[in-house]
Symmetry: C2
Subunit: 153 residues, 2 copies
Amino acid sequence: MTARARTGPQRKVDTFEKLAAVGADTWVATASATGGAHLVPLSYAWDGECLVLAVVAGSVTDRNVRSSGRARLGFGPTRDVAIVDADLEGLLDVNDEGGEDTARAYADQAGWDPRREPDSYVFIRFRPRRVQAWREANELSGKVLMRDGEWLF
Amino acid sequence: MTARARTGPQRKVDTFEKLAAVGADTWVATASATGGAHLVPLSYAWDGECLVLAVVAGSVTDRNVRSSGRARLGFGPTRDVAIVDADLEGLLDVNDEGGEDTARAYADQAGWDPRREPDSYVFIRFRPRRVQAWREANELSGKVLMRDGEWLF
């Protein structure tokens, strides 16, 4: 039996819960300049306004984000999703001075610390532009929660 | 505790199990000609050689696949993934004559029949070119199971 469709405010609450989840991963889709789609699961942190990812410097995701300035992120199992279209807000080497707060918050939520890895990592900060959330087909109507960077609820 | 890394043949067995799962979804990443990444969860079927998706005709995924000829698909929870880079093998209107076998196989595995929907759907057949599978970090080595369309195991 399909549950009753959630209201917009309830979907926003549920989406914030996903964004604040500890030790979770998101599917990160990026595109190359030549039309190639890339997709990887990555840990993340959420600071209330932006999503923070840690990626290996020079990786496909890093290069695609630098060239396109955006990504599309999928959260949750496929029958309870939040999808975030986001714009690149900033890049920061994980060991940069002045990045300690970001690094600490990332490690707390993601459950690992890229500063301790042998590879060289970069923090990517993404600002959501469009957010959608739905579970089953009856929630496809009303799925948009943020448009042009503004929450609708 | 992290489990011991699986062998290549075991990962192939596990990946086939994912591809044959009934009523499952895959995260489908495609790219537009202008560098925009798209990502949606979609039902799928697997015929042993190709993946079959059903998409709304004219949707972003449909348009991106027609222009780029490829997609990248993510299966499984993010800590037990299979990732398939695939090339467009063919497109078929779900109601086309001669497509009954595809439509029946799709409905059996996906658990719904796009021929019964009010929207107009298209079957997209993708041939895997590269397949990767890993669970935790200790499985990143040896993650490639198929390269250039050939299974390595």
